[in-house]
């Protein structure tokens, strides 16, 4: 069993981050399911990470309370900025949330309490593997239940046609706000888990590139269901590690994979029908 211990010592951080990014990917999937293209989730993740790390370091809160705070803090922010922002649609919403994300990053960069560009060091490593698995499982279960509920169907109606949905008596604003805030909770908790798994956080991890990375994971994996975003998060977190042997050229490969998937697998990598068809099960793609 020694190799297992070695393996774990080397790769535990990587495995943790797959779980964390799966959770963040689900949070973006949730907003996309309601037709919202939001790039704020990296910032929400950052808020969760910083709030939880500061509560651990300065106030000495227990881990569970810290995680609750990591979910609630960005939810509060999402509630405040969501009411005016969610009037925007499509590309404009994406741009507004992106600008919000930049503002958050710059604020974190300039505050004294957040440690500025050096970030926060020495965060207690309280996150265990089962925490991530349990929270991820809970999120998947909750979201799967929600998809088949009245709320989930309302999300789908709004995504397909907002005007039609509102004419059917769906409160579009309220549903959008709900999706936005719930997405912020998931991202915030993921941030809290991440901060307590990696010992160290800095503002660089929650900027524009990360917002885009997370969105990419979801599109790469497939936005049709809950599995796709998690598969996307897993593959895109692993890919840079697997391509280590390509040295400085691994980014090229990374980018090419992204382009090729977008061009040739429009529904993402995880598309159950195509995978079944590949093994000769179920109906062929028509």
């Amino acid at each position: 069993m020694e190799w297992l211990a070695n393996f774990w010592a080397t790769y535990s951080t990587l495995i943790y981050s797959i779980g964390v990014y799966a959770l963040v990917a689900l949070s973006i999937w949730l907003t996309l399911a309601c037709g919202l293209l939001s790039l704020a989730n990296a910032a929400f993740m950052g808020i969760g990470a910083y709030v939880s790390a500061l509560l651990s370091l300065q106030a000495g809160w227990p881990f569970w309370a810290v995680l609750v705070a990591a979910g609630l803090a960005p939810a509060g922010v999402a509630l405040i900025i969501g009411i005016p922002t969610l009037r925007l649609s499509g590309v404009y919403l994406a741009m507004a949330t992106l600008a919000f994300g930049e503002v958050v990053r710059i604020i974190i960069l300039n505050l004294e309490i957040t440690g500025g560009p050096e970030g926060l060091n020495g965060i207690p490593q309280s996150t265990r593997g089962w925490h991530i698995v349990a929270i991820l499982g809970l999120a998947v279960y909750g979201l799967a239940r929600m998809r088949r509920s009245r709320t989930g169907r309302a999300f789908e109606a709004i995504r397909e046609d907002e005007v039609a949905a509102s004419l059917m008596g769906i409160d579009v604003k309220r549903h959008k706000l709900f999706a936005f805030v719930l997405g912020a909770v998931l991202a915030g908790v993921a941030g809290g888990l991440n901060a307590h798994a990696t010992f160290f956080i800095s503002p660089r991890e929650y900027g524009f590139e990360n917002a885009v990375d997370i969105l990419t994971m979801v599109v790469f994996g497939g936005i049709g269901g809950l599995v796709g975003p998690m598969v996307g998060a897993g593959i895109l977190t692993l890919l840079p590690e697997l391509l280590r042997f390509l040295h400085e050229f691994r980014g090229i490969f990374n980018g090419l994979v992204l382009i090729l998937v977008v061009l040739f697998l429009p529904k993402g990598i995880w598309e159950p029908r195509r995978i079944r068809a590949l093994f000769g099960l179920g109906p062929k793609e028509g």
Binding site: L37, P84, T85, R87, L88, G90, V91, Y92, A94, M95, A96, L98, A99, F100, E102, V103, I106, I107, L109, N110, V163, S166, L167, F208, E209, V212, L215, T216, V219, H247, E248, F249, R250, G251, I252, N254, G255, L256, V257, L258, I259, V262, L263, P266
Partner: protein
């Protein structure tokens, strides 16, 4: 102090406007948020450096060649990636993600080929002349940068207003479908737009490279953020708006850096952007297009 700052702001702002012009053209005509525009900008910069180092071209010829190279790159991105996505009517999120892939590929290729360290133009390439008016120092290169940016923008602006191609492009911006029905070669003009946008991005790259005399594989990233800010402030797809907003952002950044703190420059820019989006989502000069039931 103030006139000097205004001059720096004018230099920076005119390059922002030039960069944002290609960006906004892509959005206005093709409807694509082209996140590879920053990488094309970076390629333009390296191309100029390459032409100066290896072919010993004079600066103006290096600039034109770099514009040709980055224009072809823009064209290539359109033909290989954006066109197939258009053909299958992909939602607007998809081409944006494809262009992220392009940006990652190009900047890592540059990193692999040229290394991550800062490269500079060889000594003597950049004119070092300096004029002094009272207590304001003007570098010759700054005058060149402002003049070139404004000239390129003026040419483009007139072409869009006055020529048949310009009118066709504006028709496409309104609606590609009706433009096609009117007999306009929509695909051809899409390709032309991609070329022009790439060339504009490359030109901005060369000018920034000359202004700071520093070229790195990741130099496209910060200006891409600025470009996004500019096209939102100016109204997405609005050419005149992006010119004004580019200059405005340059001023806002230089002033807040000079009178607040160096980090606050970006905070002011994006904070303003966020507020403007809430109050006027269509930008400062745009009009709102909303679908009502």
């Amino acid at each position: 102090m103030l006139p000097q700052q205004l001059l720096n702001a004018l230099t920076l702002g005119s390059v922002y406007a030039l960069f944002a012009l290609g960006f906004t053209l892509m959005f206005g005509v093709l409807g694509v948020i082209n996140l590879s525009h920053g990488a094309v900008f970076m390629v333009g910069s390296y191309a100029a450096l390459f032409f100066v180092n290896h072919f010993h071209l004079p600066l103006w010829l290096a600039l034109l060649s770099a514009m040709a190279i980055s224009g072809c790159l823009g064209l290539l991105i359109d033909v290989l990636i954006l066109k197939p996505l258009r053909a299958r009517n992909a939602p607007h999120l998809i081409p944006m993600i494809a262009t992220i892939g392009v940006a990652i590929t190009l900047s890592s290729a540059a990193q692999g080929i040229f290394g991550a360290e800062i490269m500079r133009f060889p000594e003597g390439t950049i004119p070092t002349g300096e004029f002094t008016f009272g207590d304001v120092h003007v570098r010759a290169i700054e005058i060149g940068i402002v003049a070139i940016s404004l000239a390129v923008m003026a040419i483009l602006f007139t072409a869009l207003r006055r020529t048949q191609v310009g009118r066709a492009l504006r028709a496409i911006a309104e609606s590609p479908k009706s433009a096609a029905l009117l007999g306009i070669n929509v695909e051809g003009l899409f390709r032309a737009t991609a070329f022009i946008a790439g060339a504009l991005g490359g030109a901005a790259g060369v000018l920034i490279g000359l202004d700071f005399n520093a070229i790195t594989p990741l130099m496209g990233q910060p200006i891409l953020h600025k470009g996004i800010a500019v096209i939102i402030l100016g109204g997405m797809g609005d050419i005149r708006g992006s010119l004004i907003a580019g200059l405005f952002l340059g001023f806002a950044e230089v002033m807040s850096k000079a009178y607040l703190s160096s980090q606050m420059g970006d905070a002011v820019a994006f904070g303003m952007l966020f507020l403007i989006l809430l109050v006027r989502p269509s930008g400062l000069f745009g009009r709102v297009l909303e679908r009502k039931a």
